[in-house]
Every structure is written in C-alpha cells, then in structure tokens.
Assembly symmetry: C2
Homo-oligomer: 436 residues x 2
C-alpha cells in the first residue's frame, strides 16, 4: 500500500523532531501501522531552514495554504502554534476533508468547540495527544484507557518550565526572579515566559483534560489561572517544614454542583509520588471511581517527546481514517451529542484546604484573635507553625493549615484578620490538596 501522505505546517523544534523520528523509525512505525507514513510537503516561512532540516528530501513551500489545499495530502500536522493563522489553517484543512494532528493546546482550549464541530461535519479526525503533557499518552489514557470510570478529579504537573523553577527554588533556596533567569539561560524558559509562569499554558492543558474527563465543551474562559510569579522562597521553606511541596498544579474536580477548573501553586504532601516529580518533568494524577488513582509521568516538552505524541496520532489516524466515524474515539471522549452542560464553578465556590502565613506582632492575644475569626467563619485548623521571633524583633510568622472549606469563607476571614492591628502585613494564602 502507498504510504499515507502528511503535510507538515511549521518545522520548528517539534516539527523537526517529528520529521527526524518518522524518518529514523519509519520501518518500526510501518510494521505497527500496516502502512508507511510519509511527510510529503513541509510549509515554513523559513524555507531555507526547512530545506536544511529535511536535507532536501521533501518538498518545501512558504505558504501553508498550499499544503492544506493539496489534494494528495491526507493528514495535516499543525505545529505553528497560537490561535491566529493556525486556526484559519486547521479550519481550512478540515473543510478540505483532511484529518488534522496538532500540538496546539491554546488553539483547542479556546476554539476547540468550533474545530471539533467542523471536523464532525466533514467526518474527519482532529487528534491532539501532543497538546497535553508532551510525550505522555495522557489523552489516550483519559479518553480510552479509563472509559469505565466516573472520573473524580485530575491533578497535573503539566508545565515543565514552572516545575523546573519550583524545583530549583526549593533545592537551592533561591527566589523566583533569580531562578527564572537561570532557567532562561539553560533553555528551560523562553525569552518571554509569560504563558508558562502565569499558568496560562497549564490552564490550556487542564481545560482539555477537564472536558475529556467530564464530557463537557472546552471552556478555557471559565478556568481560574494563577502562576508562580508571586510565590516566595519562604513559603516553599515553611511548606517543607510542614511536610509539603509546592507545585503548580492544573486541577479539575467533579463536584455535586459543578466542575472545578483551576491552575495555581498548590501544597501537596511530600510523601505523594507526584510531589517528587522534579525538574522539567510532567506528571498527571487521575482519580477514577473504579480504578482509584493512576499516575502518568514523563517528559512534557521537547522535540522528540512531543514528536512521539504527534506520530502516535498519525498512526491512529492512518489506522482509522477510512473507518466510519462511529468507529473512532470521540474528540472529547464522549459522543458529541452526549456532552453535558454542567457548569464550571467560579473560584469563590471552590473547596480546598488552605495554607495561611501571617506576619504578626509578638504579643499576647494575637493568636486568640486570629483563631476566633477563623472559628467564627467555620474554618477549622489542621496544623500550625509559629516561628520564634528573632532576637530584638517584636514580630513573627504564624502559619496555619486549614481543613477543607470554601474559598469565599477563607477570603472573608482573611479580610477580617488583615484588619487586626496586630497583623502587620497582607496574609499569604496558598491552596493545599491532599490528593488522596
């Protein structure tokens, strides 16, 4: 059988990784897929670089529109990123009856509903394993491996840049700004790291996982997003003393009244496997009602790990492109006419435990005032740490860990605590998850 023909849009890091792995392992891949997979054309604005990377073995064009319009192309691989031109090209490819493989989480988290609907109308597949957690086959696990389960929650370390920064901050006791510069120097953070460090990238990914887990349309605009830029080294240290690690988690949880969907720095018990995921590695922990907890760990970025996911999708599409749509796995795991309209809860309604750090005058009655406010708000305390004040310094840090409560409860209590004359600065509040 002739090889299936692929048009590659964008030959940057992941694009060249995809080209290289497909070439190196073509025999092994053909033995699995039952058919060869061939990149027939590459579109990149930098045609010279594209020619160099492909050794002149593949046709190179500057205009991606040429590729999505070519009748001989079966699958378009979109590795341009962003939601400007990439969206136009993906929709055009779909309208032309082509299957699409993409690593573009931003595009799917924001425009996924439109794209999946267009694909459904044309009977084509949009595959996106590479969009979440790089080489870890987490989309396949969620969408096919755990179909028996009512999924309860997902917690993921799904951004390597921030996990690298947090690991370094903890290891070396350094501040965020210092470590960010080091990460940029080492290539773990981009020149403009905003999407990573502000949690946006993780929010794109957890939005996709949430939809697949709970069977609802993608709704990135409902996600609560906090990054790690305001995290201070002292909280990492106190967390450690209390037996916790701080990780930037993408979290989504099924609740009776809706779905929680949030990204923020989170205290996790140090004994959990996921708390020990260090450096730029990714891991996703999924809780299902039948299977219990399962964890998926690996490289979440980089040329070849991401290419691994892109090519796995190419093999899936190669296998299924001539099958009836009903034989394929639905884009969002659930049949498109079976998606649920369960609401995503506003952050005020989220339930969590909390870490509260307060700078207080070292005088009688401070603790009584604070604990009274918390008790009145119905917030109970699970653990407390009071640091001895330094010699000659009439103030100290109090750290409290709460039991589960609603975010709005804790926010109201914090406002009252900050109004106390003995509380000397804003209360630092971090969320905490037991993950069991």
């Amino acid at each position: 059988m002739n090889p299936i023909k692929v048009g590659l849009l964008g030959i940057g890091t992941v694009g060249s990784g995809t080209y290289n792995v497909l070439k190196r392992n073509q025999e092994e891949i053909r033995r699995r897929a039952g058919r060869g997979i061939e990149i027939a054309v590459v579109a990149d604005l930098n045609t010279e670089l594209a020619r160099e990377l492909t050794g002149g073995e593949v046709e190179v064009v500057a205009d991606a529109n040429e590729v999505v319009n070519r009748p001989d192309i079966d699958i378009v691989v979109e590795l341009i990123g962003g939601y400007g031109v990439a969206r136009e090209l993906v929709l055009k490819a779909i309208r032309n009856g082509k299957h699409v493989v993409t690593a573009n989480k931003a595009l799917l988290a924001v425009y996924g509903n439109e794209i999946f609907e267009a694909a459904r109308e044309k009977g084509v597949i949009v595959a996106f394993e590479a969009a979440v957690a790089g080489g870890i086959p987490i989309i396949k696990a969620l969408r096919e491996g755990l179909t028996a389960n009512r999924i309860q929650w997902i917690a993921g370390i799904i951004n390597g840049t921030t996990n690298f920064i947090l690991s370094e901050m903890r290891d070396k006791g350094l501040d965020f700004d210092t470590v960010l510069k080091e990460a940029q120097r080492l290539g773990y953070a981009e020149a403009d790291p905003t999407f990573d460090i502000e949690g946006v990238d993780a929010a794109h990914k957890v939005t996709l996982m949430s939809s697949i887990a709970f069977g609802m349309p993608v709704q990135f605009d409902k996600a609560h997003v906090e990054g790690i830029t305001r995290l201070s080294a002292v909280d990492i240290k106190y967390a450690e003393e209390l037996g916790y690690r701080i990780k930037l988690l993408g979290l989504t949880r099924r609740r009776e009244d809706g779905i929680e969907l949030r990204v923020h720095p989170t205290l996790v018990p140090a004994s959990r496997l996921i708390a020990n995921v260090e450096g730029a590695m990714n891991a996703v922990l999924v809780q299902g009602d039948a299977v219990g907890a399962t964890l998926y760990y690996g490289k979440g970025a980089g040329a070849e790990p991401t290419a691994s996911a892109v090519i796995a999708d190419l093999v899936d599409v190669t296998r299924l492109h001539t099958a009836d749509p009903e034989h394929r796995v639905p884009h969002l795991a659930f049949q498109p006419d079976e998606l649920s309209s369960v609401p995503v809860l506003p952050i005020d309604e989220v339930t969590s435990s909390y870490y509260l750090r307060m700078r207080v005058s070292d005088e009688t009655g401070v603790l009584a005032d604070i604990t009274r406010i918390l008790a009145d708000a119905g917030i109970s305390i699970d653990a407390m740490l009071q640091k001895e004040s330094r010699e000659g310094e009439p103030q100290t840090d109090i750290i409290m860990l709460s039991h589960l409560c609603r975010e709005k409860q804790v926010n109201a209590a914090i406002t009252k605590i900050e109004a106390l004359p003995t509380v000397l600065s804003a209360v630092t509040r971090l969320r905490m998850e037991e993950l069991n």
Copy 2:
C-alpha cells in the same frame, strides 16, 4: 441502538467488580461508547452465588459452553483464569465469531500465539488490558501511545503481592516468611502464593509487554524467572545503605543480539520514582528512543481496578467490532505478518550490574584475592562496603557493586571466589539496574 451483549465467564472478584462498575457507571459508559454495554448472561459453577451477586437481574448458567455458543452474545469476557478450561472456552468463543476480553495473563503468555492466530482467522478481537498491571492502561500506552518509538526497555513492578512483601520487609526489617504470613492474613497474598512469590505471575505479564514492545511472538518459556523467596532482610538493609531499594522487576530489554526477558529481585537507585512505589501498587517504566522514560502507576489488582481495564476493553470492542480488522490495533502491536524472529537471550548472556555479598574471614589479603579474581574476569567495581566485624567475631560481610558485565562472567568469578578458603559461605548475587 440496542446494547451490545456480553457473556461473563466467572463471577469471582474481578467478575463481580466488572458487573458492579458496568451497572453503576452504565450511563457514563454509554455516553462514551455511543452504545450501551449489557451483561446478558453469567456463567459460574456457583450459580447460587452468581445469582446473589447479580441480584437476580441477569441470567445465570452453570455451563460456560452455553455462553460461548449463544448466538445473541457479541463479546465473551473470560475471567476464569488458568490455561485449562479457559483456553478451550476462549478458542471456542473465537471459533463462534465472538470477540473476547480477558484478564488471563497466564493463558496469553503461554498460548497467546495460538489464540491471536485463531482470532485473526475469524476476524475477531482478543483484548487483554486487564492482563497486565490491573487498572493501569499500560497495554494501550505501549501498543498505541508509544507507536512512534523504538522501545529500548521496560521495567515493571507488576506484582502487588511481592511489592507489598518487599515494602514490609524494608519498613519493618522483617524476614520474608514473617511478612508473607502477614500478607496472607491481610489478603495481599493468596493461600497458595507460589505464582506470585516465585515471580511466575510477573513473568507472564512481562512476556506480554515484551512481545508488544518488540513485535515478537509471546515466548514465556524463554523468560528467566526468579522470585523473592530467598531474599534476606540483610540484603535489603545493605542495599539501603548503598542508596538502593530492592524491587521484584519484570525486565525486558532490546539488545543488539536479542531480547532480554527476565524477572528477579533487582536493586534500583532509591532516587528513582519507581523505587518509591510502595505496598501493593504497580508501576511500569518504559524507555523509548523518542519519548525517553515514561512511567505508569496505579493499582495492579483488585476487583474494581481490574474491572476498569476489562470495561475499557469492552468499550474498545464495542467501538471497533463492526470495523474492518485493518482499522483495529494488532493484538501484539505490530501487524501479525510483521512480527520479528529476534531471539530471547539466555540468562547467561544478559548484561547487568551486580550486588555481591560475601562472608569472609577478617584477615589480611582477603580483599586482594577477591578483587584480583574480579579484575581477571574483566569485572570492575563501582562501590564497596565492608562492615566492621563484631567484637570477638573473626568474620565480616563485604558487599561489592559491579559495573555492567555479562552474567556468565560474574558467575564464573563467583565460582572462583567461593573456592577461596577465606570466603566462608556462598556468595549472594543480586542484579542491579540504574534505569536511566
């Protein structure tokens, strides 16, 4: 659409788990699969118990042959176990054109080639996610998620009983026999635990993973199998001092001259995530050339975790049973006419690092003699630990960790070492894997 009809053979632990999860989550599963999945008949010798477990809602028969012969049954779920009657029933179901879902690793590791060939002839699917690592979707990850990769090796904690025993031995410093009794009391080990503690169960599972990873027929008879029955607490303690944990690993590795396929207690660096998998949990670490290392962790046994895998297979079969066989994933990941005849290497040819513990007279020249023998055999030493001899005791333990060498090299050297008059007992030899 009418629900797809399933016949369940055997309603023990996993069977009743499957029944319960399918019933509890039927709506969620139907929304995913696009069609209901209904257990229409249960076969079990204990018909009374079967009726009780299914609350009289399902037809119960004593003779499993009735089920595999019934024209209205689309899928047969085999949960009888073993390779006697289970083999007959599975083959009969296939001959009758039924798809089969099974959790039976023993059956597939030993008779898989015959069964997959029969299934191919009839154009039916034999799905077996539940056969390896319970609820962890490792078969799907290997067979579909990592198709881009030339897989290099797999190392798995794939037997919960032995991992529980090893965890307890380390935690509490107890001997194997003591912990085994505790495990039996707690239900972590069966009354006859032979298959678990002798490594046979793990060998069945790694045999299946090996075939899928490297595209070769199943060949359980070529696996090297060692259990944990002769492991002593002192080696766990010394390993710990040297920065290692001892785990029963199922290992398979691609080498230039063939495939390694082995199960044995293994020293693993304590810093590896897999070394920290405790109790009855399972984890599989897979090294691919593109993706690098990925790890899959979860419950490897139990009613509902295993049911989770059985039902995921039911959903896959429901989706694909009317598709052409070419649209389905091949049983052993590679197209059946593309399986390789690469040999499984005998254990003598395996390459590993080694832990050697020797009981020696505490006298001059002992160490010189031993290190000379190792040097002459081309074995270099990576680390050494000599324990101070106890007061009044003229003998002591020497522990050496070797660099990589062939098993036959190390065995020949051990024979010579044991012949030294200063070496007072048999040398304890354990294999060691860096897993990086």
